[in-house]
Symmetry: C2
Subunit: 343 residues, 2 copies
């Protein structure tokens, strides 16, 4: 563990904007989370509020209360539109910096550019700080030499659980004696302890494919895993930033787990921009050269029963395994993975 | 015109690595080109060597010879793998800087980071210098308010003439009384005088869609064109960097002109990575929500007759207009454009 952290998600913990906080509460090998700050949900347990599982991480109303639990690190737990650092967050970060905490942020607007925060002299880790071309890799075809098959977790939208499904799958594999390694592609994946990967959306477009390839090649060489699981970003047809084809085309993932939220009609934050039918998404992934092996569901806006109904309906409709990983665990994906590794 | 330029393409002018030089020789509203430096093709006319049309731009062997023609600007005319600035180019740039010329480069490795060049005090324009998040736009859906239809020029590979076809089309439209405006997405497009656009591949991935949208919205507001032509980058399935879906999904281009080089079997610079069939590409574009309206051909590696044979074959096979814009001009695309504007 690199630190003991308080995670900021003011008035947002119960929304999917707090996906970084949710990921850190679910589990991290990099930071031990001791408190979440969100006045709106204060008094609850962060695990309980997230998925009904108590994790002994209190949600508190203020940073001052969180400091009593002895953190050495303060992490921004929300994703804001366009990655801006809003004033209400900036003021709490400054407070944390003045208390001597290391600041960790995955926003595009860099915390280290705040002169008040910088003046405190604390360590500021901006996980989405863009790297210069000289530090980046260009795609060169080395992917063809990688031994471990790649499996991409893509989704029909952003912020619907791709990373969580990928982590659950990797853990389920480990428990079943399969050595799966995850390639992180976002700031939260790094914060959760990801060893191989890069931050997709703050990378210069020309180097995205090379960075994926490099991460996969390095992971394969270092660890010789049985399977490499690639965390997807956004969705192939999300208008605010289509992503995903790189994982199939550049990292040569021939299998895909497709994460879907049947209760979500429009792309996140984009009313009037409907998510296209899932059958089309499967067809699109097929044209890129990969096969959808299973669907994983996010239960957003659905009751437990309604989600199970959707699961049954989709299974029939798509003739594919459909799994609710958060509710059922990812063990149901193991036969799919085993079959994929055989081919 | 902003300057009078010598363009560097040492030992590369006759290869498609010199695509920036080729674009500038074909035409620029920003720079008047007075010479191209390439010892291998020295003595020829740059237009003649490019496409058989004399343009009174001599190819000379050395920068010294070029200086006699009175340039005030020195432009890097080649695209290198991964955008590195190779030593043999660096030394000529330094010579140009010492002669007092403004340096213009579209490589990822920045000329202004060279301390010898910087020490000369000349102006150095690194067109691919990445811009920070604060200067970039995030996609917000304003595209829905744009009046002018968008037409994207996509391709089945990189470096096969998308930009040139887009420019020829815009010029053909102008001559026919149609006000078409081009959105540039690469460094050469800017060097050719593009007013609206951005450099796709040096933009942080998260802002690519917003930058396209912003360029289109700004162009539509400022000029009220009849048509907006979007310059594509790379190809949807180029493993070294798949691109293009943003133009359809984020800029909502409903029509596509698809540039293709029937004589090219593998992706540029990637032997063993074949370009997939063009029918599949059309299907893929369709799944993204756009219609391929015409195919435009690049005659690379084909004799004139062989290219015409391919043209006829593809017309029959795809039941679409197939045009050789460099040889025939882009007028043959006008009926396609007029029909597109009617719908």
């Amino acid at each position: 563990m690199e630190g003991t952290a308080v995670v900021l998600a003011p008035n947002a913990y119960r929304t999917d904007s707090a996906k970084t906080a949710h990921g850190l509460v679910r589990g991290s090998e990099r930071y031990r989370v001791v408190a979440v700050v969100d006045p709106e949900s204060a008094g609850e347990d962060a695990g309980q509020a997230l998925d009904g599982r108590h994790r002994d991480i209190p949600i508190v109303a203020t940073l001052t209360e969180a400091l009593a639990r002895g953190p050495d690190t303060c992490i921004v737990g929300v994703a804001t539109k366009g990655g801006r650092l809003p004033p209400e967050l900036r003021v709490v970060l400054l407070e944390a910096a003045r208390a001597g905490l290391t600041i960790v942020s995955g926003l595009h607007e860099l915390a280290s550019d705040d002169r008040h925060i910088a003046a405190t002299g604390v360590r500021v880790l901006d996980v989405r700080r863009p790297r210069p071309a000289a530090e980046l890799h260009f795609w060169n075809g080395d992917i063809a030499q990688v031994r471990a098959p790649r499996l991409a977790v893509l989704g029909t939208d952003c912020a619907l659980g791709k990373r969580t499904t990928a982590r659950l799958l990797v853990h389920a594999c480990a428990q079943a004696g399969l050595k799966a390694e995850m390639i992180y592609t976002g700031q939260t994946g790094w914060m959760q302890g990801g060893r191989f990967g890069f931050v997709f959306d703050s990378t210069m477009n020309d180097f995205v494919s090379g960075e994926i390839e490099h991460a996969v090649v390095a992971c394969d060489k270092a660890l010789s895993p049985d399977l490499i699981v690639l965390e997807g970003q956004s969705a192939l047809r999300n208008p605010s930033g289509p992503c995903g084809s790189e994982l199939i085309i550049s990292a040569q993932a021939k299998g895909v787990i497709l994460q879907h939220a049947p209760g979500r009609k429009d792309f996140k934050g984009l009313p009037g921009w409907p998510i296209p039918p899932i059958e089309e998404e499967i067809q699109l992934i097929g044209l890129y050269g990969a096969k959808v092996l299973a669907i994983t569901l996010n239960g957003e806006k659905l009751s437990k029963d309604a989600l199970i109904d959707e699961q049954k309906k989709l299974e029939k409709q798509l003739k594919l395994p459909v799994v609710r990983p958060v509710e059922e665990g990812a063990d149901a994906l193991l036969p799919v993975v085993r079959q994929y590794l055989k081919n």
